[in-house]
Symmetry: D2
Subunit: 364 residues, 4 copies
């Protein structure tokens, strides 16, 4: 299992100096992950932290109820939290805003000329907003031009998908590209961190599983992969694929696990499927983007893997793990996939998106 | 939602006095549940406890590492553990033996004239052994006659299904009976108690999900429902139904939850399905068997139910809970089902089987 | 280990018919436990449910987000929630109000002539309010007379202690009564239900222990036992006892476990201590109160008991379990105690208090 | 809070090339941690892996049921497991052997001239074996000379303490050195990893706390700190300190948390104690040993810290976290301490011990 080596001729050039960025929703759980992931980033540096009125004016160290296992980076702890909606110096914004405020605030900053790299659901399905996974649909960034025209400026929004969709779409992408995927049953077992810090009460989830997640989780899983795996030809054309999703909250901290059964348009062998999964690679690998995993998909042979606690941190949480590939008595094949929901499935996805945009000279 | 009232004319008569029974594998986790469930049983009383050499000769109180939330019944605690394979006074035996020894030991006692009510997997698929769920296939007990002939005596074995199968088969039974079920996708999220007391290491399962269960769990789920929902016409004829199962171990203590997508032979509405589920009833209810739930299926309306911790104990753990009934974009409908794996899915199932056999005058 | 038999000559007489009661804070976690415990109570019946403005006017079934493993009693589900502060028909009120509103509301109802049996902390340390554990200080109810004078009426407040204090005080009571206890180190490991349903985020407590509980938990544990174990002589005189408490939140659902080291005034043997614990009994046992455990303290011999999940439900959650009695190298002896925090440590305690008051003809 | 800078004049010199080492008990949980921690060690490289007959002859990758979140180092995965007791090429052995075999095997290798750095309990209290924590009692290594004489060679055993003792001893060391500590109450809440991979059944510990740990855990906690904090003057002289320990197993994965109440010989203020804790440093810091934490003790101000999941990984798991320093109503002060039980409390401790021995030129 050799790592993808980045060809020097294709590698993206780093910026002359680290690009200043702002974090919207900086005190929340996704915001904290942004700050953690950007702490030693070679291309970007956290220059501004932005949150709601309640936190604005305080130092970030005082305003944030920091919950991650690593410590708050000292330089960020000293930044004064700015008010959401106010003027910012950065042109590149990472948004971990709650969906109750993200819609308007992100639009506003994009209209003011900023590149908004958003993890929120609000604009994901918009007609000229890329729902971007650089390994899969890097060409969807062409929609930015259309979007900039609408906004009369250089600003735009780029989004990454829902955390479960990230795992599903990456696992399906090589199979859809090579064989066509028609139908997908997926049952998710999602970690509590997906709901934010206060999202799931311990009294609700200890010794329990909750077969429901609010906010339209199943709808997202049934809709977003179709846009992601579809085409941009001036407008987005969805992939023709039926998806049936049943979601569950389980008492794990990080890592969304999912069982998948799927049908391919062509008849293919399990070996073909495995080869497609193992050899999958894309623009981030070709460009050597800093946050890119060497292999987007780790195929595991052990009968009882992937497991959230043991496999979620592969490649710093940026690789999707796949295992238990078997024939399905009803559709064609079955497998189990795992994604780190707050890294590859959220903040890490947005950072990778921004890296692609820099590599393509699309940052304002 | 009114409870099924037992018609006095159909109610089974209790025995003249409580029937003495023996528990095989009495110190194990299923054995302990047998003892707990039979503690105040109106028809049966625990007369003998049987275990391996290591425990034989000790008092049950000393031999068993009792792990249930209720205390060991005092009269059972004082019984001396008998050696597996030795002579027993009881004619009715409940077996919670491990599958490594159950095959031979159960056959042996059946050949000696005992009714062996087994929770083990060894004889479930045998050609003349009922895989019995009294609400579904009470007529399968006709196979006992065939079996008794083979054994040249009054003895026989009756089995109950795998714990996950119990939940699945009960949820499907009314739908299969009324509309025919062709195809079923099921993903289980199974509690740790299913593996026995020492079965799942805490280091393996805390903050984790394991997408695999050994011992052929998926094979059982794909095979047993076909026998259960099939017919006995001198031989067993399987139901024609394709099942695709993906199993997971999750950190819950009791209660197997499962997501199900299924296809019916006839076109039916969700209302039809719901009515079929809610009105489902069978022999145990008609006969008023002591362990029978009033309603075998509890249909729950709340969007986030059933949940293992909140719903597993309905009707003393003997009812299966079903919820989240919705149309499926690929097959016809989806739902979520829950079964208490160590009560309805194990010891309680066996006790109900024995009650049916008494009501039918089939106990030796 | 024989149960205490209630002498017919000492047994309290039940009321002519079940006494109507109101539940204050009926939709909260303590309120739900009140309703569960009173569902089939022989002396009391839930007649009114009272909550904040948000719930008032709805049916209880619709207003309460019911979280207990048993179902909402159907007769209570149909009651209309009344507004806190409004007129009530019941003269006996059980209060599970949050401490933010309990202080004023309870005083108000007491001043209007009601007996308020409160689980809240607000009035526990008041100069004429009994902090009552009927097995220990039944005579403290004499303070009610003083309180009624202050209120110019028949109304009064009676309180039960903090959930951890309940376990500690019951374990210490027989030792303090017989030998005098001077000094107590206690470290608690408290279940999440102690914080109410939404109190502890799963992200905070999974795979974790939090060595802190807000709201002055340690202060209560260091203060309340002194009042409970003290005397009423027209005023309350605290027991002379130094207590050092360190509290922790652990990922258990119900049951507060605590390690205790203590010093006695007299030199006593471990056998003396054990005898005192095992023979402990009080007014509820003498009077045969409906909620009284047969033995307030269960002394466990096994080296690894008591354990929350296995022992919290002894005597329907009303008994305190004690084990691991050993000499202490620094103070005199050590032990481990367990109390069901939401039954004996909260709602069950209040119900028992009300039963004592009825038996003593003190209900208005 | 500035890190201790290593004075270049005091820094230890690295070896000319990485020293080959063998791991005894390489497939077990401590063995796996050794391999993980030594994967990129600047001074040592894993050259041999040793285990019981069952694993011997297999490749390590095949023999070990690897359970850590990082992957098996590829070079170690290819090593063939050697049989315990056989000849080894390495002179430096790290032992994670189970105590059932460690006693004899470690003695044997030491007698053959090896330096055995042991995590097992067997030889900890031996009269000429250092129970070493380099920050505290680096001078105890003088006992090695005595031991070598007994063994007639260059070989010896050095041990590190029990995992809980490590946290306790480091927290107490600066206080004992400066003020004298007379008496200590400690209650531990220990993670499941302390019992090895299969040690604690999930059925035993989910939604539970077990107030007992076998193998003499409490005895070790009451004895080992006295040797560690004592003196070597040709023989070991224990510190005069009474310790009372009560241990509990809680459902956390890694990190032993403990509440401590203690009495000092001199009267000191809480500020004095805090200063002593924060300024504590020792030989590993002076010598700049590769595994040394910059600060052995992290003093945390937040009212609810340290917490196992949030603080166990400070300084790669090598720092002990202390918080909640308060006066004690009975003894003098109270605090809460946390140690990563499988890193600082086990494998990491042994690696640090070996580093000290190299720095002092004591490796054979």
């Amino acid at each position: 299992m050799t790592a993808t080596l980045v060809d020097e001729q294709t590698a993206a050039a780093p910026p002359a100096e680290r690009i200043p960025v702002a974090i919207l929703g900086a005190t929340g759980s996704v915001g904290q992950r942004f700050i953690q992931l950007l702490a030693n980033h070679p291309w970007f540096r956290v220059h501004e932290v932005v949150a709601s009125d309640r936190s604005a004016g305080k130092s970030y160290g005082a305003a944030a109820d920091w919950r991650l296992e690593t410590l708050v980076p000292e330089d960020v702890a000293g930044l004064t939290v700015k008010n959401l909606g106010g003027q910012l110096e950065s042109r590149l914004l990472f948004s971990g805003l709650d969906s109750s405020v993200a819609g308007e605030a992100e639009d506003d900053y994009a209209n003011r000329g900023c590149a908004v790299i958003s993890n929120s659901k609000n604009h994901r399905m918009a007609a000229d907003v890329p729902l971007l996974i650089p390994e899969i649909n890097a060409d969807h960034i062409d929609a930015i031009t259309t979007q900039q025209k609408r906004r009369n400026g250089k600003g735009y929004i780029v989004t990454n998908p829902n955390c479960s969709v990230m795992g599903l779409a990456i696992a399906l992408a090589p199979l859809h590209q090579q064989f066509g995927v028609d139908a997908v049953h997926v049952t998710t077992m999602q970690a509590i961190s997906g709901a934010g810090y206060a999202g799931v009460a311990s009294y609700a989830i200890l010794d329990n599983v909750i077969p429901y997640i609010g906010g339209g989780e199943e709808d997202k899983i049934e809709a977003e992969p179709r846009k992601i795996l579809g085409k941009w030809n001036g407008t987005f054309e969805d992939a023709q694929m039926k998806i049936s999703a049943q979601v569950n909250r389980v008492p794990t901290i990080d890592g969304h696990l999912m069982t998948v059964s799927a049908k391919t348009r062509e008849r293919v062998s399990l070996d073909d499927i495995r080869n497609a999964l193992e050899s999958f690679t894309g623009e981030p690998q070709r460009l050597g983007l800093p946050s890119a995993p060497q292999r987007p998909i780790h195929f595991l042979d052990a009968a009882d893997r992937p497991q959230p606690r043991l496999d979620r941190d592969r490649e710093r949480g940026m690789a999707v793990s796949v295992g238990r590939l078997r024939a399905c008595p009803i559709l064609d094949f079955r497998l189990v996939a795992l994604v780190h929901n707050t890294i590859r499935g959220a903040a890490g996805a947005a950072v990778l998106n921004a890296e692609l945009l820099h590599a393509r000279n699309l940052l304002p």
